[in-house]
C-alpha cells in the first residue's frame, strides 16, 4: 500500500513538472508565433463588469470601445474588443483564469487591464511568461511597477499603466491633509482588499511621519452599513481617509458621520471618484485624472463618446481606459509595420515602451517614465465636493 502511494505520488509530481515545463514552452512559443496583421486582433479588457464595481468596468469598457471604434481604422488595424469580467467580490481568481484564456488565444497581442491591483498582481507573471504586454488604466498599487520603502515588487516587466501609482496618490493626499487642511487627527480605513490596504498604508505612514495622530479601522469588503465603524471615529477626528472602490459607500459613511454628530470629513481615493454617487458636500476625493470636460482639445472626443453613450456622464475612470486602448493599439500598429505586415507578442511587448502620444486625452502629451512602466510626470488631483454635488479642483 505504501509503495503504491509513493509510486502514485511520484507519477503525480512528474506529470505536474512535465505539464508546467510544457506550459512555459507553449507560452514562449506563442510569444514568438507570427500574426498576420490583416486578421482581426482580439483586444481583451479585464475589468469588473458585474458585481458592486460593475459600473466602473462598464464605464471603462465604453471608453475603450470608443477608442477602438475611432482609432483602429486610422492605425490600419481590425480590432475586436472583448470584456473579461472580474467581479471585485471574487478577488483576484477570475483575473488568473482570464489570463490563461487570453494567453491561449493567438489573436490576442496585448491586453487591457486588469483594472484592479489585485487582479494585476495575480496575473502579470503569467502574461510576462507569454511576453504578452498588458496595460491597466486604474491599477495604482505602487509595488506593481517598482519596489519602494521595503515593499516587494509584485509586478512584472509586461505590466504597464497609464495612470500614476499610489506612491504619488498616498503622499499627495496626506500632504494635502497636512498642508491645506491642517489636520491633527485622522482615521485611516481599509477594506481588506489589495487596493485599499496599499493606499491606506502609504497615507498612514506619510501622516505619521509628519506628526499627525492616526488610528486605523478595517472593514470587510462586503460591509454595507458602517454605523458601528462611525461609532469608533473619535469626535475630534478631522478626516476619515476612506479608500473604497464603491463610491456609494463613501457617501453612506459621510452621511452616517453626520447622523452621529461627528465633525470628521470623508477623504476618498480614486476609487470613490464618482460625482453621481459620492456627493456629500465638504468631502474630498483624489484622482489620477482631471475632469476632461475642462480640456478644450477633448471636446470633440467627448461629444463622440456621448453620442455613442446617450445619457451617460463623463466619469474619471473612462478616459484613462481610452488612453490605455490607444497605447496598446499604437504599439500593435507599430510592431506590425516594423514586421512588414506581421508581428509577434514579443515584438508588441518591446514596442510598448516606445509609444508616446502627442495629444493625450488627460491633457498635454503622454510619455513613459524611463525608470518604470509608469507615465512620466503624472500627478494626482484633489477635489472638494461642493454643496451642489460638483467636484471643485483644490489641489
Amino acid at each position: 500500500m505504501k509503495k503504491a502511494f509513493v509510486l502514485a505520488l511520484a507519477v503525480l509530481v512528474t506529470s505536474v513538472v512535465a505539464a508546467s515545463a510544457q506550459g512555459s514552452q507553449t507560452a514562449a512559443a506563442r510569444s514568438l508565433a507570427g500574426f498576420n496583421c490583416k486578421k482581426t486582433i482580439t483586444l481583451p479588457f479585464v475589468t469588473p463588469l458585474t458585481g458592486g464595481a460593475g459600473f466602473l468596468g462598464a464605464e471603462q469598457l465604453s471608453w475603450a470601445k470608443y477608442a477602438v471604434k475611432t482609432l483602429a481604422p486610422g492605425l490600419g488595424l481590425k480590432v475586436k474588443l472583448v470584456g473579461g469580467d472580474t467581479p471585485s467580490e471574487q478577488g483576484p481568481a477570475p483575473a488568473q483564469t482570464l489570463a490563461q484564456k487570453y494567453i491561449g488565444d493567438p489573436s490576442v497581442l496585448a491586453v487591457l487591464g486588469p483594472s484592479t491591483s489585485g487582479g494585476v498582481a495575480a496575473s502579470t507573471k503569467a502574461y510576462y511568461a507569454a511576453k504578452l504586454a498588458h496595460i491597466s488604466p486604474s491599477a495604482t498599487r505602487t509595488s506593481l511597477t517598482k519596489s519602494t520603502g521595503g515593499t516587494q515588487y509584485t509586478g512584472s516587466p509586461a505590466f504597464f499603466r497609464d495612470v500614476p501609482g499610489d506612491y504619488i496618490q498616498g503622499p499627495s493626499d496626506a500632504n494635502f491633509m497636512v498642508t491645506n487642511l491642517h489636520v491633527k487627527k485622522v482615521v485611516v480605513m481599509d477594506f481588506q482588499e489589495p487596493y485599499s490596504l496599499g493606499l491606506a498604508s502609504v497615507v498612514e505612514a506619510t501622516l505619521k511621519a509628519k506628526g499627525v495622530s492616526t488610528s486605523h479601522l478595517s472593514a470587510p469588503n462586503t460591509t454595507t452599513d458602517y454605523s458601528a465603524y462611525v461609532t469608533k471615529v473619535p469626535s475630534d477626528a478631522d478626516i476619515v481617509f476612506f479608500p473604497t472602490q464603491k463610491p456609494g459607500d463613501a457617501q453612506t459613511f459621510a452621511q452616517q458621520l453626520i447622523e452621529q454628530g461627528k465633525k470628521a470629513k470623508v477623504f476618498g481615493g480614486d476609487g470613490s471618484d464618482n460625482a453621481a454617487q459620492f456627493k456629500q458636500s465638504g468631502s474630498y476625493v483624489s484622482n489620477f485624472a482631471p475632469d476632461i470636460t475642462g480640456i478644450p482639445a477633448d471636446a470633440k472626443l467627448i461629444a463622440g463618446w456621448k453620442k455613442d453613450n446617450p445619457g451617460k456622464a463623463v466619469g474619471s475612470f473612462g478616459p484613462p481606459s481610452y488612453g490605455a486602448a490607444q497605447i496598446a493599439m499604437t504599439a500593435i500598429s507599430r510592431a506590425c509595420k516594423a514586421g512588414g505586415g506581421s508581428t509577434t507578442r514579443q515584438a508588441v511587448f518591446r514596442t510598448f515602451k516606445k509609444v508616446s502620444i502627442k495629444n493625450w486625452i488627460l491633457g498635454g502629451s503622454f510619455k513613459w517614465s524611463t525608470k518604470s512602466n509608469d507615465p512620466l510626470n503624472a500627478k494626482f488631483y484633489i477635489f472638494q465636493i461642493q454643496s451642489n454635488g460638483s467636484y471643485k479642483l483644490v489641489g
Partner: protein, 314 residues
C-alpha cells in the same frame, strides 16, 4: 453609555432587516422544506422596485407627496412586486420539482438566484442605486429623532425598526389567527394529511411565497432607506437572513425574528467593543467572532433556539 446606546440602535436596525429576510426563509422552509436560496435576490429586486417608485414619486429631494406617504407607497410597491415575483418563482422553478429529490429544487433555487441577479443587471445596469433620503429637507430624516442620553436615534432608523416590528406582528396574526394561517401550519406539520383534510396545498404554498417574498420586499426598502443597493446585494443579505433563520431554528417564525435580532446585535457589539492589543480587532474580524459564537450555539443546540428536534418514528 452613549456608545452602548448607539450600538444597540445599530444592532436593532440591522437585526430588524435580518429578521424580515429570515422570516421569508423560514416560512418557505416550514411549508415546503425547501431552502429558497433565491430569497436574497427577491430582496434585491425589492430594493430596486422601491427605488423606481421613489423616482416616480419625484425623488427624495422634493417628492410629489408627503414623505411619510412616499415611504409607505415605496414599501407597499416593493412588497407587491416581490410578492408577484415569488408567485412566478414558485410556479415555474419549484412547483414542477415538488416531488423531485430534495437536491433538485435546491439547485433550481440557486439557478433562480443567479438568473435574477444577472437579469437585473442586464435590464438596469450594474450602477448602485441610492435612495439618498439625506437630500430630503437637508437631512431631516437623519438629524431629527429621539434623544436618548447623548445619542439621537434618527427618524429613519425609528421608521425602519417600527415598520419591521409592525410587519412581524401582522405576520404573527396572519399565521396564528386566520384560517389561511391555520392551513399553513397544518401543511407545515404534515402536507399529505393536510391535503386529505381538504386543504388546497397549492394555494397554501403560493400564499406562503407571497407572504415571504413581500417581507423580502419590505426588508429591501428598509435596508435601502439608509444604504445604497446594487444587483449583487442579494447574496450577502440572503446569507445573513438564512443564518438568522438557522439561529432561530429554521421553520420557526418567532425563531426567525429572534435570530435576526441576535445576529444584528452580535455584529454591532462585536464591531464596537472587541478590541485590544492582544486580540483581533472586532471591526476587522467581526465575521470571525460572530460565526464562532454561532458555531458554538449550533453545537449546543443543533435545531436552533426555537426549532423542534427532528424526531423520526422508527
Amino acid at each position: 453609555m452613549d456608545q452602548f446606546i448607539q450600538l444597540t440602535v445599530d444592532g436593532l436596525t440591522l437585526g430588524s432587516v435580518y429578521a424580515l429576510i429570515a422570516l421569508g426563509y423560514t416560512l418557505v422552509y416550514g411549508v415546503l422544506k425547501l431552502l429558497n436560496f433565491a430569497h436574497g435576490d427577491v430582496f434585491m429586486v425589492g430594493t430596486f422596485a422601491g427605488f423606481g417608485v421613489l423616482q416616480l414619486l419625484g425623488g427624495p429631494a422634493s417628492p410629489d407627496v408627503p414623505i411619510w406617504l412616499v415611504i409607505i407607497l415605496v414599501t407597499l410597491s416593493a412588497m407587491a412586486v416581490c410578492a408577484a415575483l415569488g408567485v412566478v418563482i414558485e410556479r415555474f422553478a419549484y412547483r414542477p420539482l415538488r416531488d423531485a429529490p430534495r437536491i433538485a429544487p435546491l439547485i433550481s433555487a440557486l439557478g433562480v438566484s443567479f438568473f435574477l441577479a444577472n437579469s437585473m443587471q442586464l435590464l438596469f445596469g450594474a450602477a448602485p442605486r441610492n435612495y439618498d433620503l439625506f437630500q430630503y429637507h437637508s437631512g431631516t430624516l437623519y438629524l431629527r429623532g429621539l434623544h436618548i442620553g447623548g445619542v439621537t436615534v434618527p427618524l429613519l432608523r425609528i421608521i425602519t425598526i417600527v415598520a419591521a416590528f409592525v410587519l412581524m406582528v401582522i405576520l404573527w396574526f396572519l399565521v396564528n389567527k386566520t384560517r389561511t394561517g391555520k392551513a399553513m401550519r397544518a401543511t407545515s406539520f404534515d402536507r399529505e394529511a393536510a391535503a386529505m383534510m381538504g386543504i388546497d396545498i397549492d394555494r397554501v404554498i403560493v400564499f406562503t411565497f407571497v407572504l415571504g417574498s413581500a417581507l423580502a420586499g419590505a426588508a429591501g426598502v428598509m435596508f435601502s432607506l439608509r444604504v445604497p443597493t446594487n444587483v449583487s446585494i442579494g447574496f450577502i443579505a440572503g446569507l445573513k437572513g438564512f443564518i438568522a433563520a438557522v439561529i432561530g431554528g429554521i421553520g420557526s417564525i418567532p425563531g426567525a425574528m429572534v435570530g435576526g435580532l441576535i445576529l444584528g446585535f452580535l455584529e454591532s457589539y462585536i464591531q464596537g467593543y472587541v478590541h485590544g492589543a492582544h486580540i483581533p480587532d472586532g471591526t476587522q474580524w467581526s465575521d470571525l467572532y460572530v460565526f464562532s459564537v454561532l458555531i458554538a450555539l449550533m453545537l449546543f443546540r443543533h435545531q436552533g433556539l426555537f426549532g423542534r428536534p427532528d424526531i423520526r418514528k422508527v
